[in-house]
């Protein structure tokens, strides 16, 4: 199989995630897009691990997964906090600070 098959698939997922984080208003949906971006990176890492014949790719991916879990956890905590204070998780309304 071609290495680029995987890499390009990852690139597609990455860019879709980017599109998502820019356009989604709902906080939880932004978090979902972030997960997609991180997954894209994981595909890259594992594919390169296979390409180079080393387990480091998978190791790296595992670290990313662990960190992503932590990140999504606190991301959700912050989203919930904002929801409690604002009764809304519309990120486009979170713009008190600017200038």
């Amino acid at each position: 199989m071609l290495l680029n098959q995987f890499l390009l698939l990852a690139a597609v997922l990455f860019c879709l995630g980017v599109y998502g984080v820019i356009t989604r208003k709902n906080g939880v949906m932004v978090l979902m897009s972030i997960e997609m971006i991180l997954n894209a990176v994981n595909i890259n890492l594992v594919a390169f691990g296979a390409f180079n014949g080393t387990p480091i790719g998978s190791v790296f991916a595992l670290f990313v997964i662990a960190v992503a879990a932590a990140e999504v956890g606190i991301g959700l905590a912050i989203v919930l906090l904002i929801y409690r204070n604002k009764k809304s998780i519309d990120f486009s309304e979170v713009d008190l600070l600017k200038g």
Partner: protein, 515 residues
């Protein structure tokens, strides 16, 4: 492709596991910090509210205790050379130790700043300090990381607690927003950085920076020597650097900084603006000097652009700020531009660029923490961080006014205060290289230091020249810990300026040991 694994067919491979040799002395700072963090959590769990008043002190003691192995290591290393562990993933050299010391000391000052703020503000205390310690642990680990995975994890370890610290004023919408923005931008930045790391890992098959560096000079497929970079390498290097450019709030990746700084609790802002930013620079320095050094044709132009953009954008926008914390944020963007400047010539004048950056970081920590200490103290009375709230500070708090003037002029680079030496060394390193682009960057540095003076001096002018709001001249009660922080930073700023040798003898480090 092999589906045998899926089918579960046994394959009799045998792999040896070698227990890695661990140099306990070299990891002692991390372990002590970890121990105090755990202790803090345990005490909180066991004694609950009864221990609340001691948590700040315990955190402070923990940081100071961490300085002990750092000093003994420094002594050791000067005789035996750098300690390298885990195939070069973890290195304790002069650079690492200096930066660790800077992190620990600035963390200590931040804790001094936090003591009354957090205690009086009815915030979660022991968790606050616990998270602060774990973030500092991340920084300390970062200073020794010479490996992509370690750098990534250290980056996350120092970032994730600070996302939460920025949100710590839970009932304040501004604080929530500050935390959210910081969190989201941080996650996006780490995503970009990870993508870049994946590409670099892909072409080299390694994560140890020295090995990555070695692989950058030859084509990953053919093994031919590369005269210039390939798109894939360029993309990888740039994406990794962008991730840290976010952390150091370099333009155009600075947009989170002003918003986060102005919304977060002020001690946390000081922490983000100083310790966290320095950690970003430490990572950048390690990446550039160890990981990408062979690809100066990529990182130099990139750093040039980032430095120039940061200086210009940071300074220009700072001119229009009305909030002192936002002003500090934009000034921080401009300062980041200054610190990035030597990296734009690092390929040619490596040692000098490195030591100028290290000096700048140490001096920057003192000046900026001091400025935030004054802002914090002034806000105790005025309850506001608008620049107007600094008006007439001199008439009711002359000590603070003098201190703030010192910090402002130091930040502006007026000799003989600390900042001048920092700026001077940067300028010196950049011009030393001597090429057209370096000279142009030097001119930009000079011009920007003048622009910066406008807003720094404007703050000083308000302090001295304007009337206090409502003619209220009641003095500010400054708690002991805050005074201690002020004294420390003022002394450091003055000493670094008058006796630059006091800092340059430490920061005069050679190229970083890569393991």
């Amino acid at each position: 492709m092999d589906f045998t694994a899926l089918a579960g067919l046994p394959v009799a491979d045998v792999v040896a596991f070698t227990r890695p040799a661990i140099d306990w002395h070299a990891v002692a700072p991390e372990l002590i910090l970890l121990g105090f963090g755990a202790l803090l959590t345990l005490i909180d769990v066991i004694f609950l509210d009864r221990a609340k008043q001691y948590t700040a002190a315990l955190a402070g003691v923990g940081l100071l205790a961490t300085m002990v192995p750092i000093l003994t290591l420094a002594n050791d290393i000067s005789e035996t050379g750098p300690r390298v562990m885990f195939d070069g993933a973890f290195v304790v050299d002069e650079f690492a130790l200096i930066m660790k010391a800077v992190f620990i000391l600035s963390g200590y000052v931040v804790i001094l700043l936090s003591t009354n703020y957090i205690g009086e503000g009815d915030y979660w205390e022991s968790e606050y300090y616990g998270l602060m310690l774990s973030s500092i642990l991340g920084m300390v680990v970062m200073a020794s990381s010479r490996d992509l995975i370690s750098i990534f994890v250290a980056f996350e370890l120092l970032s994730i607690p600070s996302y939460m610290l920025a949100t710590w004023k839970k009932r304040s919408l501004e604080s929530n927003e500050a935390g959210l923005k910081y969190y989201l931008m941080g996650v996006f930045a780490s995503a970009i950085m990870l993508y870049g790391m994946s590409l670099l890992f892909g072409v080299s098959g390694e994560t140890i920076l020295t090995k990555v560096n070695a692989s950058l000079t030859s084509d990953p497929l053919t093994g031919d020597a590369l005269s210039s970079s390939t798109p894939i390498l360029t993309l990888g290097i740039i994406f990794v650097i962008v991730g840290f450019a976010f952390k150091v709030s370099a333009a155009p990746f600075h947009s989170w900084a002003p918003d986060t700084y102005s919304g977060a609790p002020i001690p946390v802002t000081a922490f983000l603006a100083v310790a966290s930013k320095i950690a970003g620079f430490v990572a950048l320095v390690q990446l550039v000097f160890v990981g990408f050094y062979a690809r100066a044709d990529v990182f130099q132009p990139l750093m040039w652009i980032l430095a120039a953009a940061s200086m210009i954008i940071g300074n220009l926008v700072a001119l229009r700020q009305t909030d002192i914390v936002r002003l500090m944020a934009y000034s921080g963007v401009a300062q980041a531009g200054f610190i990035l400047a030597p990296l734009a010539v690092a390929g040619d004048v490596g040692d000098q660029a490195l030591s100028s950056i290290v000096s700048y970081l140490a001096i920057y920590a003192a000046m900026n923490l001091g400025a935030f200490a004054v802002i914090l103290a002034a806000a105790r009375k005025t309850g506001s961080t608008s620049i107007e709230s600094m008006n007439g500070l001199f008439s009711y708090a002359p000590g603070l006014a003098v201190a703030m003037t010192i910090f402002m002029f130091a930040l502006a680079g007026i000799p003989p205060l600390g900042g001048w030496f920092a700026k001077f060394q940067i300028f010196f390193a950049v011009v030393e290289q001597g090429g057209t682009w370096a000279i142009l960057l030097g001119v930009l540095l000079a011009v920007n230091s003048v622009i910066a003076l406008y807003y720094y001096a404007a703050v000083a002018r308000r302090i001295w020249a304007d009337e206090a709001p409502n003619g209220d001249l009641t003095p500010i009660r400054i708690p002991a810990s805050l005074s201690a922080a002020l004294v420390l930073t003022v002394v450091a700023t003055l000493v670094f300026g008058f006796l630059p040798g006091s800092i340059s003898q430490f920061t005069d480090v050679g190229l970083i040991a890569g393991g």
